[in-house]
């Protein structure tokens, strides 16, 4: 077991305070993508960052932001390394992160009970969610009015990590952070 030094803990906190470039209401710590900070001496630091999706284009912006904030705090040399294992899941988003997503108008991912695909059914004009099953235990509540009567409009949305849904009660469309 590797112990974390007070300096590393401080730098991890700093790196984690960087806002997500796509979802600026969330910090990288709340998103759960900053894995570790390793200090080599006092002015050389390696940060482990994990992508949400393998092709996530925000990864480079995240790396640059982490480098900048650590340099501003006196770290001379910062290396941000991408780590894939263990694979990130939406369960890595903190409770605070989920609350902020909801307030921002994005339905947070539900806690996963299985890694299976989300079953959906295609209608003539759009996709309807199927009734709750073992694989899909809970409905996706509307982040605006809280109604659980919502429908899937598009399985992919503005970013790879989201799907587009609409509330049947208040009729507002909203993004849903897909469970991964």
């Amino acid at each position: 077991m590797v112990t974390v030094t007070p300096l590393e803990a401080e730098l991890l906190e700093l790196a984690g305070s960087v806002p997500d470039p796509e979802l600026p209401v969330l910090t990288l710590r709340e998103l759960g993508v900053v894995r570790a900070v390793h200090a080599r001496g006092t002015d050389t630091v390696e940060v482990e960052l994990t992508p949400t999706y393998t092709g996530c284009p925000a990864l480079e912006a995240m790396s640059l932001d982490i480098e900048r904030i650590l340099r501003e705090h006196g770290v001379r040399e910062v290396t941000v390394r991408t780590v894939l294992a263990p694979a990130w899941t939406t369960d890595d988003i903190t409770e605070e992160g989920r609350r902020k997503l909801r307030e921002y108008g994005i339905a947070p991912p539900r806690a996963r009970t299985s890694s299976g695909p989300v079953p959906v059914e295609l209608g003539t004009t759009r996709t309807r969610g199927t009734p709750p099953t073992e694989d899909e235990p809970a409905p996706v509540p509307c982040p605006h009015c809280g109604s659980t009567e919502t429908e899937l409009l598009s399985r992919f949305s503005s970013t790879a990590c989201k799907a587009l849904r609409r509330c049947l009660a208040c009729r507002e469309p909203f993004d849903h952070f897909k469970e991964l």
Partner: protein, 252 residues
């Protein structure tokens, strides 16, 4: 940035040539299919599918970057190799055709890629970390293709006809997916059996006929792993590599 040097297989860039060769094969599959799907941008039948295909392409591009980086410099490998040095399956280089063709290609490939990655993820080889990550993405791709196959196959007369035509046209490219790749330690026969079983039940549910044409042997295609590609691939590469080759070393 890159220098224009790697025109052929970078056989000496890593210590393990089997891993390099395998990373190229799997990486090229992801890269080439990603490019094909990207060609739908601005042309997809509905906005939702425009976004869906672009997102699937993005997932594949992310996988390709990781895999090609295991084999050498990702930019050099993507933009400076000649056609004969690419190791992708002929299936993934097939032109988009109509939407049904693209969906059939997605159905066949993502069903295979899903099982392949699941098996790699369960092992402890060099591809396990990427596979564990990517298998969840591919699961969604496979589900997307399955839903569309059902919708088109069991849809209107026109959509059924087109979906059947696409399935029939691409069937002969599917045997190649199960040619063992050196450095990829999986049960290829088991993968093929599971693929065939799953694909058959999807096609049946979609009221489509399972093609009776051969998938391997005479009158089938498939030598992409050996660097032999179909005619449309050269044109695709020309477009994909044009900018990088025209402006070597350029950056934003």
């Amino acid at each position: 940035m890159t220098t224009p040097s790697a025109r052929d297989l970078p056989e000496d860039t890593t210590g393990d040539t089997a891993v390099t060769a395998a990373a190229l094969a799997l990486g090229d599959d992801a890269l080439v299919l990603s490019h094909r799907l990207g060609e739908w941008a601005g042309n997809a039948p509905v906005l939702e599918e425009e976004v869906a295909l672009a997102n699937i392409a993005l997932d594949l591009l992310g996988q390709a970057r990781v895999l090609l980086s295991m084999a050498g410099d990702e930019d050099e490998l993507a933009f400076l190799r000649e056609e004969r040095a690419f190791r992708n399956l002929q299936l993934v280089e097939q032109p988009n055709g109509d939407f049904a063709h693209t969906i059939a290609r997605q159905l066949f490939f993502s069903a295979h890629q899903y099982r392949l990655y699941a098996e790699l993820a369960a092992g402890d080889g060099p591809f396990a970390p990427l596979a564990a990550k990517a298998v969840k993405e591919v699961d969604y791709h496979r589900d997307h293709a399955e839903q569309w196959t059902l919708r088109l196959g069991d849809g209107t007369e026109e959509s059924h006809t087109r979906m059947q035509r696409a399935v029939d046209a691409l069937w002969r490219y599917t045997g190649e997916m199960f040619q063992p790749v050196e450095g990829v330690d999986v049960d290829w026969t088991g993968l093929e059996t599971a693929w065939l079983e799953w694909t058959t039940q999807v096609l049946r549910r979609a009221t489509l006929a399972v093609p009776d044409g051969p998938r391997t042997g005479a009158w089938t295609a498939g030598a992409g792993r050996q660097g032999l590609h179909t005619e449309p691939f050269g044109r695709m590469l020309a477009e994909m590599q044009h900018l990088h080759r025209s402006h070597p070393g350029a950056s934003w």
